[in-house]
Each structure stands twice: as C-alpha cells, then as structure tokens.
Subunit: 167 residues, 2 copies
DNA sequence: CCAATATCGTTGCGAGTGCAACAATAGTCC
DNA sequence: GGACTATTGTTGCACTCGCAACGATATTGG
C-alpha cells in the first residue's frame, strides 16, 4: 500500500543492498558522534541545535510550531516538547501568533542565538572531519545528487498519502 | 575531544552542507517509510527485521548477544529487550552458551525464519523503489564508495576511544 | 591458586518520541 | 450568518532506547 509501484523484486544478494546498509550504518554512527560532541561541548542535542538553526535562518528569527516540525524532522508533539526545553533554558520564547489565534510561534532569543553560534563551530567541524572530508571530492557531487533525487522521488511518490511528519 | 583533527573551519554557507542535510533528511524519511511498511504488512519493526536478518545470516542461525548488538546498531540493553520481544512472539529462542557461562545466544526459530522471508519481499521492494531506483545508476558507485569511505574513516579515527555502541 | 580486573547480559530508571484525543480556532460551503 | 469540516498546538499514554549499576563469570598477573 505504501509502496505503490510494482518494482521488480530485488534479490537479497544484489550488491547494491550493501550501499543501502552502509548508508544506514553511516547515518547511525555519524549522528551519534555529532550528537555526543554537541552535548559534551555545548550541552545541546542535535535536535535542539537543528531547531535553533532553523529559527536563526527564518525571517524574524521566528517560526510557527508546525513549520518547525516540518523542518526539524519531528512530530508536532515532539516539537512542542523540544521548544519546552529550549524555553526553559532561555534560548527560545513562545509568542502567540497575531494572525491566527490558535497559533504559537517560537522566537529565538539573543541567548539562543549565542548558543547556536558557539555550537556551530563544533558542529560544522564535525561534519567536515567525519563526513565531507572522508569522501573523495570527485564523489561528492554524485552523493549530493543522489540524496536530492531520493528526496525528490519521495515527494512525488507520496502525493496523495498524508504526509507522516507528525500527528 | 571527540573530534581530534583540527580541520579548517567550514563555513555555514559551504554548499556541501546541503549534501549533509539532504543525507539526514533522506535517512529520516526513508527509514520511517520502510519501518511503516514493515509494521503495516508484517508487524515487524525495522530493528526487529534487522535482527532476524543478522541471525539468519549467522552460522548456525545463532549469535551472541553482544555480537548482535554490534551488528544491529543498538546498545546491549537495547538488544536484550529486542530479543525479549522476538522471543515472546516465537521468532527467536534464547540459549545459554556452552563455552561461556555468562553468555547467552539468540537462535532463530523456523517461525522466525518464515517471518523474515515473508517480510524480505516487502522490504527489498521498498529499498529498491524508494532508494536504489531513485538514484541515477551512474551515481550509485560514488554513493557506495562515499558511504564506505565514511565508515572506514570512522573506524580509524576513533581508535582509542571506547566504541560507543552500547553499555 | 588467588586476587584484581575485565566482560557478559540484565535491570531500574530517565529521556525522547509518536500516536490518538482534545479544546480552540479557522476556513468552507450552502 | 451558521453548520460542518480542517487545522493548530498541547497533553496522556505507551513504547523504545541508552546509561549506570549489578551479579555472575572469565581472564590475567603474581
């Protein structure tokens, strides 16, 4: 149901499966490593860093909760509680939306921007050292294209189905 | 500390960052989609599928708990409880290890092998349709190489540090 | 052989997450 | 304008996971 196209069966011996598996392993190890670095040096989880970054890049440094949920790869309830944490430590403030009485906006505080800037060095260095610099520069464009194509296909392949980004 | 190499700072505007971000998003969306397919059609999580697969490929269809933990990207405690679930539904049996009285082995049952075989079609089709077939065949080798290189670098870059795969 | 240390798998606990349900509000269609 | 439906953000609940601690066993060094 969720995989509409018929698609020739793929043999479990298809060597391309190894690429998929390495993709999974690489993600698991990298995200764990980067998360640990961020926590150890800046007391920030990867999800929190990502939320601060999205807010910093948004116009007015503010975002509706559901927009943040889409960009942060988290469910709506997950974002509610992520913002709870960031509000608790002063990085974010909650603001009610003027144009929609249901809405809430998360607004980055100067303190939050400071935390993000401090953490950015660590994080970017980690991405460079453990991901970008490990890849043959000649291969990087293909990787970028591949990721982009996968995402584009997902966008169009799941057109009718309710986007399962949250509840 | 965890990122030993000095590494030139990477600008937050470096376009290669987009590749990293797409990598993260692609993983999030794909693993969620494949997990949902497996749950909907075979009542199996991705982690459970992976554990059954590792057992099926192991000699004697059995594996020590800590070996499984390494291969399944889960902590030891995570594996204990994952196997608890699989034992509860009859896919796996626990066996004590003859050569090490501390040890426990997880053994795949015929029922478990059957579940795995049923689910494999769904899963492989999903990987093909949403990952492999979305990527330009000309780019695939680069992706495989890139993932492999990232993993190889991680293995050697974290030589002394305790491998944080679990507790 | 014995003490000191390391490793094995399990458990209590807390953190983070998604889903379903909810109240409040917005949008739509007569 | 009013009924009906959709959307927003929050909450209760259940689930999975990692960490730290534990008892049991293995290994190592004297």
């Amino acid at each position: 149901m969720t995989t509409p196209r018929i698609g020739r069966a793929i043999s479990s011996r298809d060597p391309r499966i190894a690429t998929w598996r390495d993709f999974l392993i690489a993600h698991a190890r990298l995200s764990r490593l980067l998360d640990e670095d961020l926590r150890a040096e800046h007391d920030l989880s990867l999800a929190e860093y990502d939320a601060l970054l999205q807010l910093a890049e948004a116009p007015g440094r503010r975002l509706r909760m559901h927009q943040l949920a889409d960009q942060v790869l988290l469910s709506r309830s997950g974002v509610t509680r992520l913002i709870d944490r960031l509000v608790a430590d002063g990085s974010v403030e909650r603001d009610s939306c003027v144009t929609d009485a249901r809405g809430a906006e998360a607004v980055l505080t100067p303190a939050g921007l400071g935390r993000l800037r401090n953490a950015a060095g660590t994080h970017l260095r980690g991405i460079g050292a453990h991901f970008l610099d490990s890849i043959d520069p000649a291969d990087l464009p293909s990787v970028g294209r591949a990721m982009h194509d996968v995402l584009a296909a997902l966008e169009t392949e799941i057109p009718l189905e309710d986007r399962k980004t949250g509840s």
